[in-house]
């Protein structure tokens, strides 16, 4: 409760209090008095009505559609009257155009990237195929080098024995040579001018030792009629009585069954 009784002094301060024009000391004094003075409250309400009239005397200004929409959205939007459609301002059209350009650029960029990716994928596949082919070539070259090395090992043996095979009736122009290395117990056979065989047939090399024919390997010939066989674990050279080539079913047989084409 205020200790100060209602007086004309407070009534004089009230208009300025309503206007918020009181300085700090008078404001504090007025508020302390107002806390317990009904009459001042009543008069203050009247002053506030006057100020309301003063405030409401200004020229009204219609809020923009944006502000109106934002404010009414506070209350859920759906309950507010619909905002009439209006033309987009220039900046909005510009922004939309810019966004569209960015989107188109983005799609075009994606297509460009997709094209690059497809080209790179094709190039990768081509290179992978090349590498695979090269690997096959390398493996083949290594195999050939290995076989050449073994052949050299055979022919370099100073005790190497050479056996010449002559073409028989079925291939009279054909010839062949067998190089046998006693030291390595290996042998190399080369054939020349043998005719190409029909499908399902193969040439098979034999050596005869102790009166028995021993299978030494099958081979085919190239378009020039050349073919070769490497033989391992050849028995003692002195025990080999002869070398021969026959025409046998594909895959070879344990004992000769077909026509003999070379013998030596």
């Amino acid at each position: 409760m205020s200790d100060s009784p209602h007086s004309s002094r407070f009534e004089e301060l009230l208009p300025a209090y309503a206007l918020s024009a009181l300085d700090a000391a008078e404001l504090r004094e007025m508020e302390e008095h107002l806390a317990g003075c009904e009459e001042c409250h009543r008069q203050l309400r009247l002053w506030n009505l006057d100020l309301e009239s003063l405030a409401a005397s200004v020229e009204p200004v219609a809020p923009s559609e944006t502000t109106r929409a934002r404010i009414l959205r506070l209350a859920g939007g759906g309950t507010a009257p619909a905002v009439p459609p209006r033309r987009l301002p220039g900046w909005a059209l510009f922004a939309a155009a810019a966004l569209l350009a960015v989107a188109v650029w983005g799609v075009a960029g994606q297509l460009r990237l997709q094209g690059v990716l497809e080209r790179l994928t094709a190039e990768r596949d081509r290179l992978a195929s090349q590498v695979e082919s090269l690997n096959r070539d390398v493996a083949q070259a290594r195999d050939e080098a290995r076989r050449t090395g073994q052949a050299l090992q055979v022919v370099a043996d100073r005790e190497v024995r050479t056996v010449t095979l002559a073409g028989l009736e079925a291939a009279p122009r054909a010839s062949g040579h067998t190089y046998v290395s006693p030291r390595s117990r290996g042998a190399l056979f080369y054939a020349h001018d043998l005719p190409a065989l029909p499908s399902g047939k193969t040439y098979e090399l034999w050596y005869i030792a102790g009166g028995k024919a021993v299978a030494a390997g099958t081979f085919s010939v190239d378009p020039q009629g050349m073919g070769n066989v490497k033989v391992e674990n050849v028995p003692d050279v002195a025990s080999i009585q002869a070398w021969a080539v026959t025409i046998e079913p594909a895959g070879g047989v344990p004992q000769p069954t077909g026509a003999m084409v070379l013998k030596g």
Partner: protein
Amino acid sequence: MDAREEEDLQLMSRVATRDGVAFTRLFELHAPITLGLLSRILARRMEAEEVLQEVFLQIWTQADRYDASRSTPRGWILMLARSRALDRLRRRDASRRREEVVGGEQAAAVPPVGTARIESAERQTQVASALKGLSPDQRRCIELAFFEGLTHTQIAERLEAPLGTVKSRILLGMNKLRQTLSAPLR
């Protein structure tokens, strides 16, 4: 209590219960004059619209704090707006504001539609008449206090007038306004 104030009171009660329809109606009734007051105080249209949003956000969230024994709903809304606008004004550099006002960024008044325009025109006429009854010095002191939020001392400094003189001008001017304003405005 006139019919308008009665409707306002009902709307305030409904807004306090988060009635969106009532809020929309309250906005349509009072937003134009509130924005007019904000534009008058702030002299910047965009800033005035920002404060208008703040004011109506406060109304939406704090309508239950409205005390009918202290003011009418319209008075509460306008004084909320005035208080927020003066807070903004005080944060501004005074000299910059004066330059801007002179520079022409003064908010252009956009005529509102419907009954608000008619009521506003009537009020303007009546208050203008009341203000005409004041001396220029009295009117200037009241306007500096109301629209710029200056205290007695600040007004005295601004006008280079004695403090006692400013206090007298405000007191006499407010009493004259009271006498001149007619009952229908209440």
